[in-house]
């Protein structure tokens, strides 16, 4: 467990851990459920030391049963608790799909009882996880009214969005990118703060073209922007942070300014979030577009295991640079 201290840089993983710790201290209704999160501290050690601090009934190791423990978290949430469940890997969320989309998502709409539930889902590739430990599942839930979806890219956003998710009266799926866990560090405020759900963040201001992205891809977009700056191609990087509800205004504002839009995501291309953003831009910003809407995304295959295959699969900086040059030339 990392305690908050002003001026100290923390990793993305530590930011998640701190948010959980601080929320559990602040609100006795907050409790954690998941596989191996107790004495072991979770597959990624995010809850290391938590059970010792908060006891066995607030840091519950569950049987291997994603549907069962998500359902249980829904029941506890209906009763006024604030459960945070951990998927060991986001890929396993498929086992709980029915509880999430049919029970949690529709509950308030159907009979009015709020379900203040957070599902933490460690997702994404680049970690040699293969087809069952590397996927992006946000697209499945993007199409299920009643859920909120967030996917932070920085330690600051990771901490602030997790706090906002825990305080939200709705089911929130919190996609945390495994590749970022220990690879990025940043100073976050020592005092309590939240990053509001539903607000995108312009991570780099630019005038040439808008790159709309989220999670690990934000860092590739920023890298591409640095490379292209020397060529006079000025990227604006819009980090969505929240996927549902989507901050359409920030997206439209950026594209109205630059006139060009590229959507980058790690999820498969077909039916991904990029498709929806492209459609929205075509509907709302058609008259200010100076070039085609470009999508950079993973091909429509499972995430492969072997290094050259996974490198081929994942969008990379050079994909963004090449596409940006082409788009900028319009």
């Amino acid at each position: 467990m990392t305690t908050a201290a002003s001026g100290q840089a923390i990793t993305y993983l530590e930011a998640i851990s701190q948010a959980l710790d601080e929320e559990m201290t602040r609100d006795p209704r907050v409790f954690l459920m998941g596989e191996d999160i107790g004495p072991y501290g979770g597959a990624f050690r995010i809850t290391e030391g938590f059970q010792k601090k908060y006891g066995e009934w607030r840091v519950l190791d569950t049987p291997l049963s994603e549907s069962g423990f998500v359902g249980a978290a829904i029941g506890a949430a209906i009763m006024g608790m604030r459960p945070v469940v951990e998927m060991q890997f986001a890929d396993f969320i498929s086992c709980a799909f029915d509880q999430i989309t049919e029970v949690a998502a529709k509950n308030h709409y159907r009979w009015g009882a709020p379900v203040p539930l957070v599902i933490r889902a460690p997702f994404g590739g680049g970690v040699h996880g293969g087809p069952f430990h590397s996927g992006c599942q946000e697209g499945w839930f993007f199409h299920s009214p009643g859920l909120k979806i967030v996917a932070p890219s920085t330690p600051y956003d990771a901490k602030g969005l997790l706090k906002a998710a825990i305080r939200d009266p709705n089911p929130v799926i919190y996609f945390e990118h495994k590749f970022l866990y220990r690879r990025i560090k940043a100073v976050v405020p020592a005092e309590d703060y939240v990053v509001p759900i539903g607000k995108a963040d312009v991570k780099r201001v630019g005038s040439g073209l808008s790159v709309i992205t989220y999670a690990a891809m934000v860092h590739l977009a920023l890298e591409a922007a640095d490379l292209l700056a020397t060529e006079g191609v000025d990227l604006e990087v819009v980090d969505l942070r929240t996927l549902i509800p989507l901050d359409k205004e920030t997206i439209f504002e950026s594209v109205r300014k630059t006139g060009k839009a590229m959507v980058v995501h790690e999820d498969n291309k077909t039916g991904g979030i990029g498709a929806e953003i492209a459609a929205l831009l075509a509907e709302e910003c058609f008259d200010c577009l100076d070039g085609p809407i470009v999508r950079i995304a993973a091909p429509d295959t499972p995430v492969p295991f072997s290094t050259p295959l996974e490198e081929f699969f994942l969008p990379n900086v050079s994909d963004i640079v090449t596409a940006a040059r082409k788009l900028a030339a319009y």
Partner: protein, 330 residues
């Protein structure tokens, strides 16, 4: 079982009233359906009324039910009025879900009712989470959930039973074994004769009771509730019964042998209850007639209320997808 010493006269008479109210209300709804005045399906507990009347009568006010679609008696006992039920069937704004959901999908937290999800057994993990909330907060409350024989084939049934038993949660699992899941007979649903055998695998005590004997159901529920409230953990209760109508009223259930229905007709729960009350000297012909008049009047008042209630306006479709902060304690 000596009913006269184990159940108070007033409680038995109250159960009899609710058996009759349930039958009369569901028969009236079926009639409305045949007249084409009800949209959507009609799912009744005809011939199985003793199960939900029995278990709901055994609960305290602060307890919770997570019922399934053949538990009308439990709704009525928890305080849902016949008018609200008919309004729900007619899709009226005065129904418990304001037209958002139909028929027996009634949920109301104030009256301790968790809304039913059509995916059978989905509410079982939810029930375990309700029980978990009680346990974490040290509350002396219990939850009863119910599903059918078919529902016990689903993974959620097994995940819920297992988790409840591992954590000794205050939940009682009922299984309405009415021999058919839609058209599928028990022998094609499972390779065992008694559903209760499933409980053994989870180290959970179970009981098999005559589901058409309201006193037997009530007493079994009382025992299980006592066990749950005292902290000893969950119980599984299989109630043997027969579905006397089709799965839904559109289904003539030709696949059920007529002799089987004839045999079970003799075991009708209302006739059984009447015989018992007369034998105990708690009721006579006049009581039976009076109760019949009371419930007929209650149902007619309800139908009148529902038919004169407004339908929701189309744009209300958009309301309530998300809960707002003011709906929950911050």
């Amino acid at each position: 079982m000596d009913v006269s010493t184990e159940i108070k006269r007033a409680d038995l008479l109250r159960m009899y009233y609710y058996l009759r109210l349930t039958r009369t209300l569901e028969d009236r709804i079926t009639a409305l359906y045949r007249q084409g005045r009800i949209v959507g399906g009609v799912y009744t507990s005809h011939g199985m009324e003793a199960i939900s009347v029995g278990y709901a009568s055994a609960l305290e006010r602060d307890d919770i039910i997570a019922p399934f679609h053949r538990d009308m008696g439990a709704f009525l006992i928890r305080g849902i009025t016949p008018g609200e039920v008919v309004a729900q069937y007619l899709g009226k704004r005065t129904g418990p879900t304001k037209g958002k959901d139909g028929n027996v999908h009634i949920g109301d937290l104030k009256r301790g009712i968790i809304g039913f999800v059509s995916h059978l057994a989905d509410n079982l993990p939810v029930a375990t989470g309700i029980a978990l909330a009680f346990k974490i907060r040290g509350e002396s409350r219990v939850v009863i959930t119910n599903t059918g024989d078919g529902g016990t084939s689903r993974g959620d049934f097994h995940e819920a039973m297992n988790f409840a038993s591992v954590r000794a949660l205050p939940v009682v699992f009922f299984c309405n074994n009415n021999q058919y899941a839609y058209s599928t007979p028990l022998r094609l649903q499972m390779a065992i004769t008694d559903v209760a055998d499933r409980a053994k695998a989870y180290g959970m005590p179970s009981e098999i009771v005559d589901g058409n004997d309201v006193a037997a159901v009530y007493l079994a529920a009382k025992r299980a509730i006592h066990r749950a409230r005292s902290g000893a953990g969950p119980t599984f209760i299989e109630t043997k019964t027969m579905r006397m109508h089709g799965h839904s009223e559109h289904d003539s259930a030709q696949y059920v042998p007529r002799e089987l229905l004839e045999e079970w007709k003799k075991k009708d729960p209302i006739l059984q209850a009447e015989r018992m009350l007369v034998q105990l000297g708690y009721a006579d012909e006049a009581t039976v007639r009076d109760v019949g008049e009371q419930v007929a009047k209650a149902v007619e008042v309800g139908v009148e209320f529902a038919e004169h209630s407004p339908l929701p306006d189309g744009p209300e479709t958009l309301d309530g997808v998300f809960a707002t902060d003011d709906e929950v304690v911050p």
